[in-house]
Symmetry: C2
């Protein structure tokens, strides 16, 4: 009986651990899926879809430009970026940390921006970013803050 | 009696609301105090104190340079920055959002970096940043991610 009790205790502890990890992973999984769709939308130059990942009160903080707050300013920012000759952008997270309360998360990742240089030659610009995500009342994760800069 | 019950209900509801807001403000207050001390340390060119605000596994993501992870790389980054002629830095948060679970927060803010230009003339460089904070097991808030870029 003593052996069985210890066995049961281990099973219960394992189940509790898996349950907790599973809950975390659900939020992280949702954010990673949003990231994939978001990066794809940017690569497709789908302006409306790209902007749809931001919350209404979101801010984007680009390099070499002032802060853009709200969907209109963020749309203008992406519109300018996508209009650049040779534009292509891909990005992916390297780490996502979700709050225990499950409504707030931050993500760090890397991007590769491609544009033509002044001579018209394709140039790859590596960079990195941080995104703050917030779970909305309907359960969707939306971007609250999006800041990025280049490595060189 | 009915009037008294309603009055009591309002008092209880108010107390609950104040309690919740008070709890949030405590975390935000702690982060704002850390920010003040951190900005002061940077302005004083106190390298060790400046680096002490980062968690051991933190990353700093500077513009025009690759990601710096861990205290050694972050210290090197700040050391290089503080060594620049005419260096001066002040920063302050414009918004702090703390997770309901109270262990994770993100902050957006602005900075003014002063350095001498190549001709030796003092130049002010305005910029913005996002910091992800995490509450440590001893209750201290430490920086997990620190990313910043310039406006121009």
């Amino acid at each position: 009986m003593r052996g069985v009790s210890w066995g049961l205790l281990v099973v219960v502890l394992c189940a509790a651990t898996v349950g907790q990890t599973g809950k975390m992973s659900e939020a992280e999984q949702a954010i990673r899926e949003a990231d994939k769709a978001w990066s794809q939308a940017a690569q497709n130059k789908d302006l409306d879809k790209t902007v749809s990942f931001y919350a209404d009160d979101a801010s984007a903080l680009p390099f070499n430009a002032p802060i853009a707050t709200g969907k209109d300013q963020i749309k203008q920012l992406w519109s300018n970026l996508m209009a650049k000759p040779g534009f292509s952008l891909t990005f992916a997270p390297t780490k996502i940390d979700v709050a225990k309360s499950g409504e707030l998360a931050y993500e760090v990742g890397t991007f590769e921006l491609k544009m033509n240089d002044p001579q018209g030659n394709p140039t790859a610009i590596p960079g990195k970013y941080v995104v703050a995500w917030k779970r909305q009342s309907n359960g969707d994760w939306k971007v609250e803050l999006d800041i990025f800069n280049t490595d060189k």
